[in-house]
Structures are given as C-alpha cells and as structure tokens.
Amino acid sequence: MTRKRILICDDEEPMRQLLRVILDGAYEFDEAADGPAALDLARRFRPDLVILDIMLPGTGGLAVLEQLRADPELAATPVVILTAWPQMEEEAAAAGANGFFMKPFEPDAMTAAVEELLEA
C-alpha cells in the first residue's frame, strides 16, 4: 500500500517542520512556502490532503483554496486551514475548507482530523 501524500503550505519553516514531526513518518510530504508554489505542487503531485496557512506570500491561502476547488482534479481534495489570523473560520468554510485549526493547535486533534479526512 502506497503512503498517503500531504501538501503542507506555510511560509514559516518551523511550522512546516512541526507538522511533519507531529504527523509522524506515516505520510509523504510536499512543502510550499508561498501560494504559487502550493498550487504548482498540488497540480503536479495530486496530494491526498492539503494543510494550508492563510497568511501566505504571493497568493493568499483562501485564494489558493478557491483555485484548488475550481480545478476539477483537485476539487474533492480535503483541505485543512491552519492559521494564526483570528476570526477566519466562516470564511474558510465558505471557501470550501474541510477542517479548520487555529494556531496554536492541539497536535493530537490535528493528527485525528488528518486521519479521519484521509479515511473518508
């Protein structure tokens, strides 16, 4: 069985590293530090799940999410929004997010949410 592929998109390297560590070695990871890179990697590697920051250089996280949803091949890919920006949950849901986490987040809750979304 091939390992599931997760695209992590955050402009802070420590944050990407933290997510890699928390989600253990059970997944393949792609990493992007800005919006355009995230879109490029998503289209190239068709991840099984995307973890997306909102405050991203280039193209903001919500704009990236909208473009993913507009792409027929990526429209169904589960996306988890992870942001330090307050009061974004409704906007994230409206843009088509499947999960929402506020920084700082509970590592176990993140692991559980990712597993659940990948099994569905």
Binding site: P57, G60, G61, A84
Partner: protein
C-alpha cells in the same frame, strides 16, 4: 436702471412714473373737456343771440304791421299789435343787449339796430299815427307807405347781418366742439391704452424680477431640505432678490462644505477603526505564530521518545521562536519608549560595515531563495552610536527586502562613505510600494497592501528604524517602483564628524 438700484427703489420709481403718466393723461383729458364746454357754451350763446334777435325783429315787424293796418283802415282796433309790440320792445332790447354785452362789435351792432328802431318809432311811426288820427287821407299815400317800408327794410337788413354772424359763429363753435370731443376721446383712448400697457409691463417686470427668482429660491430650498446640497441659483436678480439668491448660494455652499467635512471626518474615523481592528488581528497573528512552534515542539518533546540530536534541534527552534516573541515585545515597548522620549542609546564607536557583514551572514542562512550581495569598501565605516539598535535597523531593512520580494532574487547591500556621512543602501527587486501609499510608509502600524499580499508583520519595523536613525542624528529614506523593487537607505554622521562620547 442701474443694477445697483435696490428692488424697493425700482418699484417706487416705476410706480411714480406710472402715476405721473396717468396724471398727465387726466390733465389733458380735463383740458379737452373744459375746452369742449367752452365751445358748447359759445354755441348756446350764439343760438340765444339769434333767438333774441329774431324775437326783436318780430317785434319790429309787429310795430310796422300795426302802423300800416291803422293807416290803411283807420280803425284804432288795428293798432293793437303796435301797442303790444311797443310795450314788449324795451324788454326784447334789454335781453339782446345783455346777451351781447361781452362782445363790443355786437354791442355796437345792436346799438345801431336799437337806434334805427327808435328812429323808426319817433321819426316815422308816431308822427304817422298821429296824422292818421286827425288827417287819415294825408298819410294814406304811397310816399308814406314806402318811407315805412324803406325804414323797416333797413332794420331787417341789420337783423339779417346780426343773425348771419351769429349763425356762422354757432357753426364754428359746433365744429370746434366736435373737434374737441374727438380729441378728448383720442387722448383718453391713448392715455388708457398707454397706462394699461405700462401697468402690464410693470406687472411682467415684477413677475420676472421678483416672483420667478423667489419661486426658484423656494424650489432650491426644497431641494436643500430634501438633502440635495448641490442646489444652486444660476440666474441673477435685481437688488434684494439678487442678494437673496447670492445668500442662498453661500448658504448651500457652506452646508455642502460642512457635510463634506463631516463625511471625510467620518471616513477617517472609520478607517482608523478598521486599522485598529486589523492591528489587533495582526498583533494576535504575530504572537501566535512563534507560540505555535514553541507549544508544538514542547508537546512533541514531552510525549515522544526522541534522539539527543532531535531534542537539540527542537530546543533550538523553541529558543529561537521564544526570542522572536521577546523581540516582538521589545518592539512594542520600543514604540512606547520612543513615543515617551525614553529611548536610551549607547554612544560607542561602531563600524557599520562590520554590522552589515554580520547581518548579511545571519540572513543568508535563513533564506534559500534570495542571494545577498555585499558591496563594501576596505576601510571601516565608523559612526558613534548603539550597535544593537543599528543592527536592529539593518536587520529590519534586510528582512523587509526579503519579505517583499517573495519570488526570491538578489538583495544588494551597499555600504559607503560619502563626505561626512556613512551611507547604507538595501535594494531589492520585489513588489515595490504603490505611489499612493509611499508617504505613509513610516507610519506606525501602517502596512500598505502587505495584508492583501499575505506578508506578515506588525507595521512597526520601519517606523522604529527611522526613529532610531534619527536619534543617531541620521536620515532615512527610500525610492520604490511598483513591481520593480525598492531601495531603502540610511545616512549616519561619520564618527570623526559626530560628537565623541559625552
């Protein structure tokens, strides 16, 4: 009319002119009427004179008829007309004389007639009658009869002359009366026509000069009341009406200005409110980002069995993020200190070139996408100042250059000595700053379009950097082209120019 005349004066002048015209019309009419009366009374007098003359003439004929009847018949009965006419004669003469009293020529004429009549009576009629009583045959001759006829004919000729003069006069008076009547009617018609026309003209003037502008102002006031503050009077009016329109425009302009001021004030408040809520979100964001790493890695270290190497790496991250938090708090406190004028600077000899090299090295390891190009002279770039604060300034400029060129690329760092100053320039090839935002770039918490671009920060860095540079006696500025990049520069007085340590 001069336009400086007030409306009151104009109305007064127009009314006075109108009244004068009407008065002149009536005067002409009065004169025409009185001359008509003159002509009529002259005509009546002529007729009276004619009637009196004819009455007198009949009287004379009666006298003569009596004389001739008595002479021919010898009967005293036939003397009755003579007697009656003789009694009436003085009255008839008086009446005629009274009527022509004012006309010397006629008075003379009447006097001549009266003399002839008297002469007829005394020289012919009375002797003839007396003779006829005693010797009727003596007077019953053609000679006597023709003498009476001659005298009566002479008198009648005089009467005819008088009557024809009076008839002519009466005809002239009647013609004059007709002429006067026609003239009076014409004057009256012209006068009333002119007055009516002038009154209409005056009414039209009042309507145009007063009623219409007043209606316009009322319409404008209604529009103002309905909230349309752009309502203005375009026309002009005489005197008070013009003043009213001008006052209306002044009032509307002032209302419009006041509203514009209120609106712009409201807009400023709204913007500052929005800025404040954005600032709160940004501060929360800036604190949460390092906190997330700290809490996340400590959680991992607590719950998992890790190698020594992993522990060391995670601890380093935690430490770095904790320092970042601490620096953030320092920034906020610095802002407060600078605003309170409590920023304390060390006064030591610093080589700016050395600081630039250190800072370039520390950033080089943080970014893989950017290459930092250093351009420094061999000599030192000495200034007096606080090395950690100057390092903060350089760090801020380099970190901005990296943050605002998200595509990566070259960041040029230039250090040079220019006359009495040390110059530092940091040049990127990033997003640049829109012209309309450039004058607010050093405002605290102002972040331009950074939020929209997804670039994090508090909007404090540049404001603090400039405050620090100015506290060192230096200057800071920038040039920027949208989508081409920015160059931020700092100028500090060289150590040999600046005051040594106090």
């Amino acid at each position: 009319m001069s336009s400086s005349w007030t409306l009151g004066r104009r109305v007064l002048a127009a009314s006075a002119t109108l009244a004068l015209l009407i008065a002149i019309g009536f005067a002409i009419l009065f004169l025409a009427t009185s001359s008509l009366q003159d002509a009529t009374s002259r005509e009546r007098r002529s007729k009276d004179v004619t009637v009196a003359t004819l009455a007198l003439e009949k009287n004379v004929l009666d006298l003569d008829a009596g004389v001739r009847g008595f002479v021919v018949s010898g009967k005293p009965r036939l003397l009755a007309p003579w007697n009656r006419a003789g009694r009436e004669l003085p009255t008839r003469i008086r009446v005629l004389q009274r009527l022509v009293r004012d006309d010397p020529a006629e008075t003379r004429r009447v006097r001549g007639i009266v003399a002839l009549v008297r002469a007829y009576q005394s020289d012919y009629a009375e002797p003839t009658i007396a003779l006829a009583r005693t010797f009727p045959a003596v007077v019953r001759t053609p000679l006597v009869a023709s003498e009476g006829e001659r005298r009566v004919d002479a008198i009648r000729k005089r009467f005819d002359a008088l009557v024809s003069v009076e008839t002519r006069r009466a005809a002239a008076s009647a013609a004059s009366a007709r002429h006067q009547t026609r003239r009076a009617i014409a004057v009256a018609l012209v006068g009333f026509g002119a007055s009516t026309f002038l009154i209409l003209l005056f009414g039209v003037y009042l309507a145009r000069a007063v009623a219409r502008p007043v209606r316009e102002v009322a319409g404008g006031a209604t529009r103002l009341a309905a909230g349309d503050l752009s309502a203005r009077m375009t026309g002009s009016g005489p005197g008070e009406v013009g003043a009213l329109m001008a006052a209306f425009n002044t009032m509307a302009t002032s209302l419009e200005q006041n509203r514009a001021e209120l609106e712009s004030q409201y807009e400023r408040l709204r913007r500052s409110d929005q800025l404040k809520s954005e600032l709160v979100s940004m501060v929360a964001h800036e604190f949460r980002t390092p906190l997330t790493s700290i809490l996340g890695f400590t959680n991992v270290m607590r719950k998992r069995t890790l190698s020594e190497e992993q522990r060391a790496q995670y601890l380093a991250i935690v430490e770095e993020q904790a320092r970042r938090l601490s620096a953030l708090i320092d920034d906020f406190l610095d802002v407060q200190r600078i605003e309170d004028g409590r920023l304390e600077l060390k006064h030591e000899l610093v080589d700016v070139g050395k600081l630039l090299r250190e800072e370039a090295r520390s950033f080089e390891v943080q970014t893989a996408q950017h290459s930092l190009e250093l351009d420094l002279p061999d000599e030192a770039l000495p200034v007096y100042g606080d090395s950690s604060r100057l390092l903060q300034v350089l760090g801020n400029l380099i970190s901005n250059a990296i943050k605002y060129s998200p595509e990566g690329g070259e960041v040029q760092l230039v250090g040079a000595r220019r006359d009495d100053t040390v110059y530092v320039g940091v040049r990127d090839h990033g997003v640049g700053i829109p012209v309309e935002l450039q004058d607010r770039i050093f405002t605290k918490f102002f972040r331009g379009d950074a939020n929209a671009r997804g670039i994090a920060g508090t909007g404090l860095g540049l404001a603090l950097a400039r405050d620090i540079v100015e506290a060192h006696g230096g200057r800071m500025g920038f040039s920027s082209v949208l989508n081409r990049g920015s160059t931020f520069w700092v100028e500090l007085p060289t150590a040999d120019r600046a005051e040594p340590a106090q």
